[in-house]
Amino acid sequence: MKNIKFILSTLLIILLTTVKSFSLIEVDITRGNLNPLPVAVSPLSIDVKSKKSFENLLKKKDIGEEISLIVENNLRTSGLFNPLNKDAFLQAPDIANLKPRFEDWNLIKAQALITGKVTNIEDKLRVEFRLWDVLAGKEMMALAFTTVPTNWRRVGHIISDKVYERLTGEKGYFDTRIIYVAEEGPKTNRIKKLAIMDQDGENNKFLTLGNELVLTPRFNPTSQMVTYLSYFRNLPRVYLLDIETGMQEVVGDFPGMTFAPRFSPDGKKIIMSFAKDGNSDIYTMDLENRIVEKITNHPSIDTSPSYSPDGKFICFNSDRSGYQQIYVMNSDGTNVKRISFGNGIYGTPVWSPRGDLIAFTKLHKGQFYIGVMRTDGTGERLLTENFYQEAPSWSPNGRVLIFYRETKTDDKGEGFSAKLWSIDLTGYNERLVKTPTDGSDPSWSSLLSD
């Protein structure tokens, strides 16, 4: 995306002050958070002239308030924060940004306060914001960004990420996007299109027209490329799509179906399955020199491969034991080891970006689960149970999983739907992710502004 390049090259992050004082506020994200931190997100203050100009440019009445709403929404959906009702705020946004009256904020039980200011500087959007520790009466962070006005949503996401990082000690996941398959039509003949949207469901865009079936899009972790399966001309093959240019090319042009593609962590290779004569094995293709390597060689179904973040290992799904189980091997295909031994069958293993866990889908006694286990198969933990759900994808900080869920139809075969859902690694904070149509096969991008 041009926007992203622009923001990366021209985004001015000015540290207004470097406050590194030890804070009293800390949010523990390793446990289910039943007492989210009360935070007051004051509307960003804006002068009359800037407000008018941005209203003309962006068709938004009060861009300061709009940006603060994005921050508020992100913090709320994380499940770690409880943004307080703005009606209770006693201090005006512009004054609060200069010097909060901590007693007032304390009175409404806010522990953290976010204030800020928006100005128009030569038709650029300048946003400064501050994070305050209400109890300690101290400023924790102050940052300012200048960017093109149309990037206003991203500014809200970047502020959210900075606040999240400052308060939890881990990188956020708000300035990210989701690529997924948008679905419409009857269950027996679904129309499927590639779609991309911001992590919060805004800026939804369809990338294909729906003329052919498309499945399983996955982001390249290092650039704006996507690999997916397309049934173009009734030949199911792995494709590559450049989101910036819209260029598509076939990469898995083998004499048979290629499917289940993913990028290697450095983005240089695609790993996928190739099915021929009733047997599916795992292959890699180097995108630079197009050299193909066969990684598994077994008469069973080997599919759903996913690299470890250091690129040294691959987890995958195989039915070589009779039923689908999860296996781990070296990236050259040696030293294959089964790691799933629980009751039921296991599929869609995905290695966490932190490297320590593998997320999976499990089918047991007619119910589907999304779960995680350590990379040696120990410590299995099931996060959510449902009639049908599968295909987890990790948030870039490894704290949240997004997946899709399908409903059971009624006696007449009606009532089918497919929706995106997210859940925290803790097993708490399960949420429906809003999409304009039905959706499936979500894949989470890396942090865009990282």
């Binding site: 027996t188 399955s273 099915a275 179904i301 799904n317 599929g347």
Partner: protein
Amino acid sequence: MKLNKILKNTLLVILACFALSACATKKVSTGQMQSDVYTGTDTVEYLASGVPDRVFFATNESVLTTASRETLRKQAAWLRKNSDVTVVLEGHADERGTREYNLALGERRANAAKDYLMTYGISSDRISVLSYGKERPVDSGSNPLAWSKNRRAVTVKAN
């Protein structure tokens, strides 16, 4: 002999298994399904009179049943008579599996049917294979009978 005893016991266990599975089969047989393979005619289309276009599979299986082999022999006979016809074998799975595994399973099922047609003299270049995984169910129901209709390999005329 010890070995003899072990063998005898094993045989007994195997016989017991047979008896049990026979019971199990009887239990779920509804006239439309045997074990969990669909045996009805709903959704079935015909390549020609008396030549059904599809065969059905058990959950997670790609083994051809006796009835499936009979259907495929009819298809092979019809294909031998109509030597200019080429076909696509479309392999399908039910919705109770992960998408990617089902794509592979559909391919495996279609190839099981293709291989059988080839043993009855149909050249491999007249048969192409296309797996849809769980993407194209014929029955939108969420019940065992609907799923059994969806686990199928369908022979479709390509020209």
